[in-house]
Every structure is written in C-alpha cells, then in structure tokens.
Symmetry: C2
Subunit: 382 residues, 2 copies
C-alpha cells in the first residue's frame, strides 16, 4: 500500500472542499446560475491579482495565457526582451518566435536572478524593445526575478512588463497595479489549488491600448472579446465550468486565510525547506533569490538525482520534480505551494532523508526534519 | 489554513478509492446487482477473518456486534468471565450485565495484558463459566491480550472464547479457525478503512450450537436469521448499502496488499512509533504487550495531556486520542491502523515534538522522527 504525496510544483493537491464542489452535477454556462458564480470569481480574482483590471479566465493551461499575451499585444517583427534563465524563460522565447517577434535574449545563469542593471542596459541600447517578458518565479531553477524593480524600470518607458506569474500569484506578493505590471498571467494548478485547465490573465490600461495595435493573427485567445463577454458575466467560448465552480471555493479559502497569511505560509514553508537542505549539507540551486513556491537542491555527488526522484515517486509515493536539461539528474525540486502546510514539508524532508540513505548517502535521519520543524514552530498559534 | 490528519484509533482515514466507490448513486439492495457485491464481500471477509464460517455484516457499530454476541449465545443467569483491563473490557461487563448475565470480572491493571494463568485459575475455580470475553487489542490502554494462548485454554473446555477484535482484525494475525476462537467481532471504521456503520461477527461451530440455547430476548441482532439471509446473498434488514459497496473496495485493497504485508506494515508503524517515544523519553502505557494498532505514551509531568491533545487537534490539525478515566489528561494515543503508512507516523511524531516544545517541554526537534525513520527505513523496497 502506497499513499501518494504530490509535492511537485504543479499540479498541486486539490483540497477536499474544492473537489466536492467540482463533483456536483454539471450546470449550463449560459444561465443566470452560472453567471452568478462567474461574477463572484471574477471579483475575487481581482483581489488575488491586486488589480482593478479585469482578470480574464481562459479554458487553457498557463502556456495558453502566455501565448495570448504575445498574440494580443504585438505584431510580427516587434522586438521583445526575454529574460531567459530557465525552461519558462525559454518558453517566452519560443512563443515569441512562433509568432514572428524579434527576440532579444537576456541569458541568465540557471539558478541566478536577472539583474536590473542588465535589463536597463539592454533597454537603453535597444529603444525598439516593446516589452520585457519575464517569470516572477522561474519554476525550473527555483529562482525569483526582481519584478518590482523591473516594473520601476519599464513603467517609466514605453516598454511593457509581461510577467509569467504561474508559480507566483497567490504565493508571493506581486501587487499588479501598485507595482505597475502590464501583464500578469497565472494558471489554475498551482497556488489556486485546482486541477489544470484554467488560465488567468490581466492587462494594464496601456497594455489594453497595445492590443488595438497588435497584428498577430488570433482567434481563440482574443482578449478584447473575452473582456467584452466577461463584462456580461460570461465567456466568449464554452468555459471550463466545473473548474470555475472549484475556483469559487479555492478563492474563498484564500480569502478566508487572508492573502498576507497565504504569503507568509509559503515563505515559511520555503524557509523550513531551505533550513533542512542546509542541515543536510545539500546545496541550494538558487541560494541568492530562492522562490517561495519550490526549493531546488543539488543531490550529493554520489546520488543520481533522476534515480532518486523516480525511487521517491514509484517506491515511496512521494512526487518531487527533478531537474530539466542542464540540471537533469542533478537536482530535486520540492514544492510547497497551494494546499500545503507544515506536515507536507515534514513529509518531504523525511522522505528525502530516507531516500538519500537508501542510495547510500548517510545523512543523519531526522536532522533535516528537525531543522524544518524549528522554522515551522515559529508559526504555531498560542 | 489547517490540513487535517486523522490519527486516532477510529474512525480512521478512508482511502480515495473507497470514497469514490461510496459516492456512486445508491442502488437497491433487493437486486441481483447488490447481491453480487454482497457475495463478493462475504467471501473476502472470510479471508480477512481467516475462517470457513460465515462472517455476518450488521448495520451497526462494533458495540452492536458485541451485543449480538451476548444476546445470541447466552441466557439470563449464565456466568461469563470478562477480562477487564480497560474501557472496552468494561463494555463487555456492561453489555453482559444489561442482559442479566452473571459476570465474573478479572481485573487487569490498565496497560497490562491479562495472564493466561489468571484466566486458567478462574476457569478451574468456577466451572460454571460459559465463556471468556476479551479484547484482542484493548484500544483504551493500547495493550494486546494473548488471544492464542487463551484459545488454547478455552477450546479444551466447554467454554467459549468471545473476542472483540475491533482494533485487531486486519491489524495483527488472529486466525480465527486455526486458533479456535469462538466469536470474533470487528467494525468498519478501523483497519477496514471505512466510515463507521458496519459491524462484523463470525461464530465457530460450537458457538452456533450455543445460539440455539440462548434465551436472551433479541430481534434486530438475530444472528441465525442473518446467517439464513446471508446464504441467499442478502441481509435480514436493510443493509448499509454504500458502506458495503465501499467494503468491497477496501477488502480488495487488503487483498492486493496481502494480509501478511498488512500485518507487517502495522507492526512496523507501531515499532517506529515506540522507537520515537523511547528517543523522546516518553514512557509507554503498554510497554510489555503493545498493540500494533495504537501506541499510548504518558505525557511528561510538566505537560497536561488533555491540553496537548486539544492543541494538536484544534491548532495543528492533528487528531490523536487522549486518555480515558484514570488515564485522562495523562497520555496521548497515536493510532497507526488502516489507511496509514510511513509518513503518517512521521507526521504524528513531528507534530508531537512541536506540540511538546510549544508547551515548554524541550525535546530536540527531529529526534523522535529520526528514530521512527530508522525503523521505517527497513521496509523500503530495493
């Protein structure tokens, strides 16, 4: 008998309350009944995004919302600056290239955060750059990029800041309006604690203006059309009805906990995981700017990271993520986002310790767990 | 946000597979469709009880099946010997008294196991005793009684051995036929991983003979009537349909894991929990004959056990059981039965450590967890 623990950076565990809501019989979407639910979620999404703008709901995964940003804002030949420090930076590059944009790549060493100076320098050198595309949390390298500082830069120019917040929205504080982010994207299967299938995107005023100029061909992801429909509490195409019904519950859970406390919980789980890595002498992939959504650790030289991750998943029931491309076989990534709490961290670290020992790397059992507990203790109520 | 961990000795967590089966639309019980399910479960229950006898399914909690043993086997004035070493020993006394039996009590110090010599001596002194009533696992004191040795004694006399196996069947090896147990009882909400509401009872040949003499008035719990109905793949009264549908799944899970491995898993989780108690200097309630279903530990003198259990439940989301009666406020009971595995033990011990520290009792965080991991490691597959 193997109990399963989903501790990868998406999909994340879905709370029973959300599962039950989604298990209700399906209802029709062109009804007042659905429109009421839709209206409720669209308002709650504005709180989550910390914006006055419409947050559009697309029946798509996060990559669909990333594509919609490109296809609605730009024309073929437009130049964009892509911060490429991992698999999802690469995705911005690929989407941009697919639609004929001219991409200026700012390569960032995997595990590092982009520097604001490097972005400023490029923007100064190449005034044709129409937007900076970046990840708030680069899931593949477990790094956060300095979105607030980048926004300080872009909002003073005619340059949009387009942010992939897929593992950031609902994890760390990225107040869209206050910072002046132009496009913010997320997906359902991360901090929103839902199955995959819904993506969300919000645009600033000036980004909406740009959509009028954008000449890339588009149909399904026509954001202006979605905005018109959303104003009438409906969607352009058939929405992912049960996911939106689940979304109402997960947004209610986030509201009940309070956004500040949600951010604190994620920060604490991440700090506890890093403390465990330190106690176990495991080097962090992103020591300088670690993401509160997911922690990457290099596996010891004597342990194959790929085998470790497979063993944890197949024989111990614990699903972490491994490394991709140049980090393949070298790291484990332990997520702590969404419907997760102290004992998910404890389980993750205990499982990691046991698996390391199983592969012949002698760590003292309980040492990493103890270090994590020390951090988690701080949040115990009176 | 508080995730809930149910680590009390019943009800125990219900596996998703079982929950999904029970969530199907209700079907009618007087149908070939239900009879097929019923037939399947009654056969699988014989494997679980390790008996050739019918295992009857009652829409009742375990106490109902205990009552049925008394009301079907005895007549008012019959003398029975009750091994009373905890709350459930007391329950045998109360049920026996309620139906006018003459009870000879063999008191056992809480936390201790009954000795076979003490039972033998009483049976020798009082030949009128018609049965010995005992718990295989006394949940309140986390002790196991020596059922095999007691059966060696009773099967050589005209004395029935009536065993409450509510936290024992599916946890430890109690082969009913091989040992010569006369009555074996269990409930759905323990090792069977179901919600409460179903109870099970099997009788030996000689116990069935006794039911013909039993003069206690009975109606709902008429076991001979249930047996007649069960032979036709139905029940005397309306069965708990969805629980029986869930039972088919949980019995399938037990069969897939294999009874031996189920017993080993429980033994290992219990050993790991005891190792943690030892590492944390917490005294066991039942050091000599501890149950593999649940482990009792005395809380340190400086910590109120009742407050500890309430804090763990209400503020940390971790439900243990406390002590009852003379043990009230003095112990915690941590269950490891049913749908539980290594990381439930890890969560239990990590939570206990953190709660102890919260109440000012300085244990080294991670020390108990490490000791538990050491034991759990032994079961990791290659």
């Amino acid at each position: 008998m193997l109990k399963n623990y989903l501790l990868a950076p998406g999909p994340t565990p879905v709370p029973p309350r959300v599962l039950l809501a989604m298990a209700q019989p399906i209802i029709h979407h062109r009804t007042p009944q659905f429109s009421r639910i839709f209206a409720e979620t669209k308002n709650a999404l504005q709180e989550l995004f910390q914006t006055q703008q419409d947050v559009l709901m697309l029946a798509a995964s996060g990559s669909g919302a990333m594509e919609s940003a490109i296809t609605n804002l730009f024309s073929p030949g437009d130049e964009v600056l892509v911060v490429n420090g991992g698999k999802f930076g690469e995705r911005w590059m690929k989407i941009s290239a697919a639609f004929g944009l001219k991409v200026t790549e700012l390569r960032v060493e995997w595990g590092k955060s982009v520097t604001v100076d490097a972005v400023r320098q490029l923007l100064d050198e190449r005034p044709a750059i129409r937007a900076v595309l970046v990840q708030a949390s680069e899931t593949s390298t477990t790094v956060v990029h300095p979105v607030e500082a980048l926004a300080n830069l872009t909002r003073q120019r005619d340059t949009l800041l387009v942010v992939d917040g897929i593992t950031a929205v609902g994890v760390l504080d990225i107040p869209m309006d206050r910072w002046g982010i132009d496009v913010l994207v997320t997906g359902s299967q991360k901090a929103l604690m839902l199955p995959p299938g819904l993506a969300f995107i919000a645009l600033s005023e000036r980004a909406w203006k740009r959509t009028k100029e954008g000449k890339v061909a588009r149909f399904y992801f026509d954001l202006a059309k979605e905005r018109d429909n959303q104003a009438k509490d409906t969607t352009a195409w058939t929405p992912a009805i049960s996911l939106i019904i689940g979304l109402r519950e997960s947004l209610a859970m986030i509201r009940e906990e309070g956004l500040r406390r949600v951010f604190e919980r994620h920060a604490r789980m991440a700090a506890a995981t890093r403390a465990a890595a330190h106690a176990l002498d495991l080097r962090l992939v992103a020591p300088d700017a670690p993401s509160p959504a997911v922690t990457g650790m290099y596996t010891p030289a004597d342990v194959d990271g790929g085998k470790l991750v497979a063993y944890l998943r197949d024989r111990m029931g614990v699903t972490f993520a491994g490394g991709q491309d140049q980090l393949k076989g070298k790291i484990v990534r332990i997520a702590h986002l969404g419907y997760m709490g102290a004992f998910d961290v404890v389980t993750a670290i205990a499982a990691l310790e046991m698996a390391l020992v199983h592969f012949g790397h002698r760590v003292p059992l309980g040492r990493g767990v103890g270090a994590a507990q020390e951090v988690l203790m701080a949040a115990l109520p009176e």
